[in-house]
């Protein structure tokens, strides 16, 4: 079968010592930042992007991808042991995982989370490989009109499934699109919105935007809150899972994997949505829902499998269509662009080693995480004891060095500080930064496809509605907005987010 030969190519690439090393570095760093609150995968990838210049593109992407799914493992560790979600995707794991830990079943909860995640990761990796071939083939048939409509659907979908005000999120996308077109226009050579600053004629860097909005702003907001972190050390009693627990957990893992895989592919999906959805499903179908919140093993097994599956399958739209569906994938687009790879369906054929190597590395990375994570838990817990007043200056330092070394200019550092300020302002106004980053990454592509589509149609805007695939995609986008705007559905959506 073609798929297996492709996977063989992939493992051939991923199993070279250098790529194994970078996968290991990626998952370890991912676990680390997953454990530490106050720094997420987006800021970390932004921080590390500049250091990957010298690497082979495939090694760079393997490491950066490892950070994302490694963070899922790390986040669940702290959720279970100290009732503190290291990542947003492990918020729900706190509910039952920590209760299990209080009952002295911390080891069981951790093992369930790790094994469930690994199972989900394995399934999702196979799914990514299997779906990529037909989807890329389909995407290669897309013209500019279809691409434009696909991006509209992707962006709308991304905000509909996220929480918060829809109107604000769409406006944030538009602001992102605008930031994305700063710099020299490829068609006319005009430097747009450069305010006469020569550095801006090359555009604004993705590292600058992401680090400002996600790194600096987050630190500043954390420093505002007076909340003290408390470290509760739980005792550890082996990693055993009893037969009864297994019987409860195994189906939850299967359901979580399936749910997470599907939600991961949807725009706006990914790890967080998957874990929230899985928790409510498990609670709904459980024989004894009253156990939830008191240490139900399904409440750990389901969401933990789902978030890992979702983290993995969210690579599908990126790898096959070139469209990022969440902020982390937007950073991956940035990473690919820095290495001169235009994300899209052609990557698979023009760069098979990179494409399949990255997919194979995800499975290897997951395996590393299962093997390494449990023995290393002691170290992660010690790290949690480091107070925030020592942690954040160190994070700032790595951010500052990272940003500075992109172009070796202090102008980039100032720009990042500016975006940090903007990020704080937006946070005060309850405007989420993720849609902005998505719009920012897609801005130039969207303009280019709009231009080409209208050039081909001689300026007739109906081309988006008369070409069937494009019309379907746009209709889906409009439908999504209408559905979410209906009052009772909006209420349900808010409830779903609140419940979790």
């Amino acid at each position: 079968m073609e798929l297996f030969s492709h996977l063989a190519t992939g493992f051939g690439v991923a199993l070279t010592p250098i790529n194994l090393l970078y996968a290991l570095i990626g998952v370890l760093l991912g676990t680390l930042i997953g454990v530490l609150p106050g720094i997420g995968p987006v800021a970390t990838i932004a921080m590390l992007l500049p250091t990957t210049y010298a690497l082979q593109p495939v090694s760079a992407l393997i490491m950066l991808a490892g950070i994302y799914y490694g963070a899922q493992y790390g986040g669940s560790t702290t959720a279970i042991l100290v009732n503190m979600p290291g990542e947003s995707s492990s918020v729900v794991t706190c509910l039952d995982g920590y209760q299990m830990a209080r009952k002295g079943q911390a080891g069981t909860a951790l093992a369930t989370a790790a094994l469930g995640s690994f199972f989900a990761g394995t399934c999702a990796t196979v799914l990514v490989a299997a779906v990529s071939l037909p989807l890329s083939a389909l995407a290669l048939k897309f013209g500019p009109a279809e691409y434009f409509s696909l991006m509209v659907l992707g962006l709308i979908g991304a905000v509909v499934l996220a929480h918060g005000s829809l109107l604000k999120a769409i406006a944030m996308i538009v602001v992102g699109l605008l930031l994305g077109i700063v710099g020299t226009d490829v068609n006319s050579g005009v430097a747009r919105f450069d305010f006469g600053i020569p550095e801006l004629s090359d555009g604004i860097g993705v590292v600058v935007v992401a680090m400002g909005l996600f790194g600096f702003a987050e630190i500043i907001l954390n420093l505002e809150s007076t909340e003290q972190r408390e470290l509760i050390t739980t005792r550890f009693k082996g990693l055993w899972i009893t037969r009864e627990q297994f019987k409860l957990a195994a189906p939850a893992v299967l359901r979580g994997t399936a749910l997470g895989s599907v939600l991961g592919v949807l725009p706006g999906g990914g790890a967080m949505l998957a874990s929230f959805a899985s928790y409510s499903v498990e609670k709904k179908i459980a024989k004894d829902p009253s156990q939830f919140g008191k240490g139900a093993i399904q409440g750990v097994a389901g969401p933990e499998s789902a978030n890992n599956a979702g983290a993995q399958t969210s690579f599908i739209p990126l790898l096959t269509l070139g469209i990022p569906e969440n902020a982390v994938m937007a950073m991956m687009v940035g990473a690919m662009t820095i290495h001169n790879i235009q994300p899209g369906p052609q990557v698979m054929t023009s760069n098979p080693g990179l494409f399949w190597g990255l997919i194979a590395s995800m499975w290897i990375g997951n395996l590393m995480l299962v093997v390494l994570n449990l023995p290393l838990i002691g170290i992660w817990i010690k790290l949690l004891a480091v107070p925030y007043r020592l942690l954040y200056p160190a994070i700032l330092l790595f951010c500052a060095i990272g940003v500075y070394t992109v172009n070796n200019t202090s102008f980039d550092v100032m720009q990042t500080a500016f975006f940090g300020l903007i990020g704080v302002l937006f946070a005060k106004l309850e405007c989420e930064p993720a849609p902005l980053l998505l719009g920012f990454v897609l801005g130039p592509m969207m303009e280019e496809n709009l231009r080409r589509a209208l050039l081909l149609s001689r300026g007739d805007p109906t081309v988006f509605a008369t070409r069937p695939i494009s019309a379907g995609l746009l209709a889906a986008a409009i439908l999504l907005v209408l559905v979410i705007a209906l009052p009772n559905i909006r209420r349900q959506r808010e409830e779903a987010f609140q419940e979790a």
């Binding site: 068609n187 747009r192 550092v413 300020l421």
Partner: protein, 150 residues
């Protein structure tokens, strides 16, 4: 007289309108072109108009719905964190990584309520060693270690 009953929505809307207006004013210098042959000003113009519409609706909603007041701005973390980073960016090339790191760490630590100068200084020295080791020696980034090396 309009009453702002939902300040977060109102001011977010106002901000988006302002950005939209700014875009259209700044973008008026660029050729619009036609739909078939878009000039550099075409796409920004669309986005600007879209942003004004979205912002206006949001601002209007800010006078119709009710919501919590704007949260307070805490100036100390904002100014100290961003200021120390900008300072680092400005001095790193002539002061070198080692000294700039110590300065950044000590300065940034002052943003926290639990600022302890001596502890910050020790952390600064340790992190400076780490930064030089990892970034300059390990990753071979083009940065001077000491002043006057560039």
């Amino acid at each position: 007289m309009i009453r702002i009953t939902n300040p977060k929505d109102f001011w977010a809307g106002a901000l988006f309108v302002a950005i939209g207006v700014g875009t259209i004013i700044l973008g008026s210098r660029y050729t619009l072109g036609s739909a078939a042959r878009m000039g550099p000003g075409y796409f920004p113009r669309i986005l600007g108009i879209l942003l004004i519409v979205l912002g206006a609706v949001l601002a209007l909603r800010g006078t119709r719905t009710s919501g919590p007041p704007l949260p307070r701005f805490h100036w100390r973390p904002l100014v100290v964190v961003l200021g120390s980073v900008v300072l680092f960016g400005a001095i790193v090339n002539w002061m070198g990584v080692a000294l700039s790191t110590v300065i950044l760490i000590v300065a940034a630590s002052a943003a926290s309520r639990e600022f302890r100068p001596r502890e910050a200084l020790i952390a600064g020295v340790l992190l400076a060693t780490l930064a030089v080791g990892v970034f300059v020696i390990g990753l071979q980034l083009q940065l001077p270690i000491w002043p006057g090396q560039r």
